[in-house]
Symmetry: C2
Subunit: 507 residues, 2 copies
């Protein structure tokens, strides 16, 4: 679409008193409303204390970042198609074996992918006892100018599709609330006509993501069971997870037990008959330690090889997969998030195979498929056998300049897939005021902003009411805006750090 | 009332894993829900940074503290009588002149009180342009055993009545929510049958206090006017105040401007005709700085002499009093909170003069007055002329052992009033688990808990609908529980620090 909005003039200039006033209001709001990280321990090599005593505000942008209204609407609408697409990919064992497997696919060269895939195959051989799967997804986009200047067509281009540990939902909701508060309290000093309440889209991501976990829990259907959050040790983005716990407890009366892979190695048991997943926390807080049955496993760890420092950790991951608990995600759904899958979907006929056929057969018309395809950049697989050579000689950079490499959840599945993606070129010269704890106040910087759209899908077992395996119960459940200073920023002060942001809709 | 509850057995013992688990849950909840203080700057002599980057959790108790249900109900019920009482005291110029004035009363010997009183008298001489006054009160109580043992009659005894800067309302609400959360998430490990949801009284203090400020603002009736918060420089209990600002903005669309006395000295102007209070923030955030009209002044500073480091600060305080803005509190209402007033009310016939006469004349029956009087300990004025002598020879200690001397708002009006109060003796041996940031985890300690009940009163100008000056629009609006380790605590680890707590009702 063509936008009359001039991205290079964003954000409006602030005077020094305005910048100070806005920074004070923003950081105070962030601290009081749980838009938080845990601080780095001191010295940084130390573990987090057993109970936190302080928190820092998450890095944040003082202004929301502009997104054309039509593209924002499209991203939200397409999320429902993507939810179905990735659910169906996860259900297609043959496709995943071919693309990601250790015999034919990525798993041949990538030990991490190969290990997960072999674990999954072993579980399949034994017989999968839990057909239901839960996906909490996030599809990430950049705005793409095609390299043209002001007034050019702007397009929505997908960077990646996350099927595991799609983080920052609750913090994103709070960043959006913070921008609404800054607008309500200061009117942003009247510096821009775009900063109006009705240009700030609602963001209720916490409720949406928790609803997904609650629906899986309910589908599991065992009273007294709990949800397991598998977490990384020394996680600093812990409040983003805690908000989901609070929502599950307050709105759904569901309890959460948090464990690292190392803790799970000691605490997990699987009932040999039912394959119920049982956890006995240790040291126990009850006099007669009793095992807790787990309804749903929510992985906020397990997406990078460093989450599995010992072979025992992989064994734990596979044990969890064997259990009757509903996995968010299952191994196949995790594998479906690989870059190589993203590339495979661009091949002729593949999208049609998953989504074609029109509404009567659970598919979509060609115009919808075209809309999905329009969010993709060109992608090429560089065969593993010739990968190194091809990479060094390829005229196209193997990584899009616009992807936020610092993202916390950068999938290890991407690393070894040897995929080249056409360069996404965001609007040049767009700026923001970035604030980070200890950064000495707001810094104006040239930035790139990435929009994430959250979706959920519960599928695989006739979850939608017995209509069979093809049925996918899914919803679009919110969004995330993250913004990062680009390298060319003056003095490099803000380069390389990514902040929580929100959206101002422009036309 | 007689209570079957055994205070010396509270709280139930926790195992080490239970204590660790509860501490982690409590501090994480506190950090994420704005139960916060700003950290001490480093080094401590430094000013707070212009925008905060981190916060620590407020000191807190892991268990709520027991209060007999009947006494809790009584404290809430009596608050409405106290609201009327102190409003009427503030309206009785002759009484305040006699008790607190610089000619006959406390102001003779106490320079702070005398200066405030003289400022008030000057404003009266000139003519008071704003008859309306707002009180946000907190009446503080201890449980009193009369020194008898288990099973003895427990009584509710008033420590003091705060008429200025009644703080900790929003943090108290969050402490109560934290205990409800700990109960919901852990069931407190089943360690006590008293820890049931219906024994946790509701606490919506933030909404109540903000409602009071909003009613004053509305009574002032000037569109575009704002509320002024007068604050101390380097305030660390800032979030308690911010929650009121957020509530005013979100629920009432009222903006707040925060200023210290030093800032006000530069920014204040009073319209010579209307005496409207006008504030021009400097440095200005708008290109053409325009003055903001103030509807209501909420004092979170000005209750101790150190809040007035220069004579100019007193001049500012008096200038605010001269203005048409509604004061929370006015100088007379601030003076009404003096210890000497509390003592004067105990004299025969004084309570009757303010509250007697039955409902038809706006008074109360003798049984209500008796209930109020039953919350008082014996009090004696030690005349200034003989004060020193009497104090040293008096058999009764001049300060109740149970008062929390560390309270942030300890009124300077008390210091020079030379009042002796009969000793309040709380139930012995009551404990708590106290947690403070940097304190290295939860500490079990013997404690004293103080219950505060919040009230509001808008009065002085026929606020209740034109019924004349005697009309008081008032409500009970919530409560606070604060708990402090006593000196005799083993090792003194928790001695002298006061934590945010809440109430578990017992019978």
């Amino acid at each position: 679409m063509a936008s009359s909005f001039i991205f290079s003039e964003w954000p409006p200039k602030l005077t020094e008193p305005q910048l100070e006033s806005l920074t004070l209001a923003a950081t105070t709001y962030a601290l009081s409303h749980g838009l938080l990280y845990l601080p780095l321990p001191s010295p940084p090599s130390q573990a987090q204390p057993p109970a936190p005593t302080s928190a820092i505000h998450a890095p944040l942008a003082l202004f929301p970042s502009p997104v054309p209204r039509a593209l924002f609407d499209r991203a939200q609408r397409l999320q429902r198609v993507y939810n179905v697409l990735y659910a169906r990919v996860a259900l297609d064992e043959a496709f995943l074996d071919r693309v990601m497997g250790a015999v034919e696919g990525v798993g041949r060269a990538d030990e991490f992918v190969g290990t997960l895939w072999r674990g999954w195959r072993a579980v399949r051989d034994e017989g999968v006892v839990q057909p239901l799967q839960l996906g909490l997804f996030r599809s990430d986009y950049l705005l793409h100018t095609g390299g043209a200047g002001v007034g050019a067509e702007l397009e929505l281009k997908q960077v990646e599709f996350n099927t595991i540990s799609s983080s920052f939902g609750p913090l994103s909701e709070r960043a959006a609330a913070m921008h609404r508060y800054l607008h309500a309290s200061t009117g942003y000093f009247g510096v821009s006509p775009y900063l109006r309440a009705d240009n700030f889209p609602p963001n209720d991501t916490t409720a949406g993501l928790a609803q997904g976990l609650a629906e899986a829990h309910k589908a599991y259907g065992v009273p007294g069971s709990q949800i397991l959050f598998v977490v990384q040790p020394n996680e600093r983005n812990v409040f983003d997870q805690r908000w989901l716990e609070y929502e599950l407890l307050e709105k759904h009366a569901i309890h959460v037990v948090r464990q690292t892979f190392a803790e799970l190695a000691e605490s997990v048991a699987i009932d040999p008959t039912s394959r119920a997943l049982l956890i006995t926390p240790s040291p126990s807080t009850t006099p007669a330690p009793s095992a807790i049955e787990i309804s749903t496993i929510y992985f906020r760890a397990g997406y990078v090889p460093t989450d599995f420092p010992t072979p025992a950790d992989y064994a734990t991951r596979i044990a969890l997969e064997r259990s009757r608990a509903i996995k968010c995600p299952s191994i196949p759904l995790q594998l479906a998030g690989g870059k190589k899958v993203q590339e495979a979907l661009t091949k002729p006929g593949v999208l049609e195979r998953f989504l074609g056929g029109g509404a009567e057969s659970g598919g979509y018309g060609p115009e919808v498929l075209e809309e999905v395809r329009a969010t993709w950049m060109g992608m090429w697989a560089l065969d593993e056998d010739e990968g190194t050579t091809t990479t060094t000689t390829s005229p196209a950079p193997p990584e899009p300049a616009g992807t936020l490499k610092a993202r916390a959840h950068a999938s290890a599945l991407d690393r070894e897939a040897w995929i080249a993606m056409e360069l996404i070129v965001p609007p040049a010269g767009t700026g923001s005021y970035l604030v980070r704890a200890g950064g000495g106040g707001g810094v104006r910087a040239e930035v790139i902003s990435e929009l994430g759209v959250f979706g959920l899908a519960l599928f695989g077992g006739g979850a939608g009411g017995g209509k069979g395996e093809g049925e996918v119960r899914e919803r679009e459940v919110g969004w995330l805006m993250r913004t990062k200073g680009v390298e060319s920023n003056e003095g490099g002060v803000a380069a390389g750090f990514s902040v929580l942001d929100s959206v101002v809709l422009v036309d």
